[in-house]
């Protein structure tokens, strides 16, 4: 009995020692999954401890962003592949979920059509377009949520990696991809609700989305999905394939001359990352209650890069923490000092780049990865100027 306790204790200690940051993340997520239902459902509304509906949706949103950051950190932090188009995968997952939620509305829409969503009735469409067929089934939506980002990443990555497109060129191409999708989704005749996108969702799997209980469940599911994603990313990074992925960033031609088809390693990690981003987007939409083409905006992908950089790239848990921290700051600033937020974000990015190349995680840790942070500096600089231009144009 005692030896068993000792053995379990030792195993727990080893797990903790091997990945302290990750363990903290997992414990915090477990905490969220316990505390959120308790504070919302059990604490009376008058109590100071009560978690409001607004807070619920904020927490859910942060967790989805953390998942997107995790996906981005996997390709950028470990493979040096700076994708500035991850918002596109996020939005595609979101749209797939949105299509399911739209079909769930049924005849409760403004026009009361049992099949056609309101915007189609408004456009005088008589029939559901073929690509909307099947979205009345939740399982079908789930399939598309994973398959659509995967397919796009596979197609795009196959061409890009096979043609050995790397560095800033890859980043610009992903940005262009995201932008092109945004323009396409803005068009009414695309069949995705044009610039209004989808909103006015009623329920998911029969549960009312306006009920706190449903929202609590969504937060818990998101926390579980984030934990599972973290474990999956950690398993990939810790495998030989993951080490090779890092090796490709250090010396791609060396890996090639060792006999590795480096394109396929990049491609599969990229595809996996896109799927994670898609799932994050799908969890995001029912919690914020809307999806529109703005989610494809280039600035969204860039903000995700900033979360990762602020948290600490190449650590996974740092990226997740960065997403939550920056977005918490964003919520606060856009409320208190709305006109200053973009400046604050830009300044944060520049300061982190200059003084904390390894992000906030780097504050406490040893200098083990100082080498790779140094290698990232030029990319960060290229990105910094890009962010500057984007922010500038947005401010106008």
């Amino acid at each position: 009995m005692l030896t068993r306790v000792v053995r379990v204790g030792r195993r727990l200690w080893t797990a903790w020692d091997a990945d302290r940051g990750g363990t903290v993340l997992l414990v915090l997520l477990a905490g969220v999954a316990i505390a959120v239902p308790a504070l919302n459902q059990l604490a009376p509304a008058s109590s100071a401890l009560h978690l409001s509906t607004y807070s619920l949706s904020l927490i859910g949103k942060y967790l989805c962003y953390a998942m997107l950051a995790l996906a981005l950190d996997l390709v950028w932090g470990y493979g040096g592949i700076l994708s500035l188009g991850h918002a596109a995968f996020f939005a595609l997952g979101g749209y797939a979920m949105g299509m399911y939620l739209m079909r769930q509305i049924g005849s409760r829409g403004v026009y009361g059509d049992p099949i056609l969503p309101d915007f189609m009735v408004f456009l005088n469409w008589q029939k559901l377009p073929w690509f909307w067929v099947g979205f009345n089934h939740f399982w079908f939506a789930l399939l598309v949520i994973a398959a659509l980002p995967a397919l796009l990443a596979l197609l795009f990555g196959w061409f890009a990696f096979r043609s050995r497109v790397t560095g800033v060129y890859f980043s610009i191409m992903t940005q262009a991809l995201s932008y092109a999708l945004m323009l396409a989704f803005f068009r009414n005749d695309m069949g995705f609700g044009g610039n209004n996108g989808f909103t006015d969702f009623k329920d998911i799997l029969g549960f009312d989305l306006h009920e706190d209980g449903t929202r609590v469940m969504l937060v818990v599911v998101t926390a579980a999905a984030l934990a599972a994603s973290y474990l999956a990313c950690r398993a990939i990074v810790g495998s030989r394939a993951g080490r090779l992925f890092r090796a490709i960033r250090d010396a791609e031609s060396r890996a090639r001359f060792l006999g590795y088809r480096v394109e396929s390693y990049k491609l599969w990690v990229f595809v996996f990352s896109a799927v994670l981003a898609g799932i994050a987007g799908a969890l995001y939409v029912p919690q914020v209650g809307i999806i529109n083409p703005g989610e494809f905006a280039p600035i969204n992908s860039i903000e995700a890069v900033i979360w990762v950089a602020v948290g600490g790239r190449g650590t996974l848990f740092g990226a997740a923490a960065g997403a939550v921290l920056v977005n918490y700051a964003k919520t606060y600033f856009t409320g208190a000092l709305p006109e200053l937020w973009l400046y604050a974000l830009g300044a944060l990015f520049v300061l982190v780049t200059l003084f904390l190349p390894r992000g906030l995680v780097g504050l406490g840790a040893s200098r083990r990865r100082a080498v790779q942070a140094g290698a990232a500096a030029p990319v960060i600089w290229a990105l910094g100027s890009h962010v500057g231009v984007s922010l500038g144009s947005k401010l106008k």
Binding site: I236, S239, R240, A241, R243, L244, R246, A247, R249, D250, A251, S253, R254, A255, R256, F257, L258, G259, Y260, R261, S264, Y265, W268, R368, R369, V371, Q372, A375
Partner: protein
Amino acid sequence: MIRPPDLPSPGKILTLDDVTVSFDGFKALDGLTLSVDRGELRCIIGPNGAGKTTMMDVVTGKTRPDHGSAWFAEDVDLLALSEPEIAQAGIGRKFQKPTVFESLTVFENLELAIWGDKSFWKDLVARLTRAERRHIDDILDVTGLTTERAALAGTLSHGQKQWLEIGMLLMQEPELLLVDEPVAGMTPDETHRTAELLLSLAAEHSLIVVEHDMDFVRSIARRVTVLHEGRVLADGDMGRVQNDPLVVEVYLGA
């Protein structure tokens, strides 16, 4: 992978025949014909622009020649294979600038260099076998990096990186090793140790060493080939090559 019709004498590890490579009209290789025996340690020297690196690029599949043929172990057509396929076939290449995976440990660098069928899905679940661990330990020993096994490769000295890279090639158990300027930037002591390392490898592997450092070449070379303007200028043992008036004129005399 059919044997060429006019097969050269058996026992050749590498045969280049009339290889021509031109870049925008400049002929980096101009009808280069060269063969290396199995188990040989061949040094290739020549002034800058003589075509040494281009020759390595052709052999490893990085550059495709406009003309000519390249055969490995007499029956492998190098011009029909991609870079990874050539590496898998048994040709290892050490770059001029030491190229190792800087953010991984020395041990991990060698692990990734393990010979075998490589695919993302297999590597996702791959575990080191006992034999592989032993192999890595042996290579750590040969390259003198045993005490550095847990160090990040990025923290190694220049010479240690060169040895690690050679060690990574050895993990692949290549039949032919191409080594580009192994002692550039090394201290005399490191140069000496590198010479010993290469000589100890020559029996089991075939080596082609490109080097500028003439003292180093003198210390290891059995047979030297001098390249000039993309073709072979002279070929033979060091003494003969050194006294060749043509060689003296274009290279040694300079």
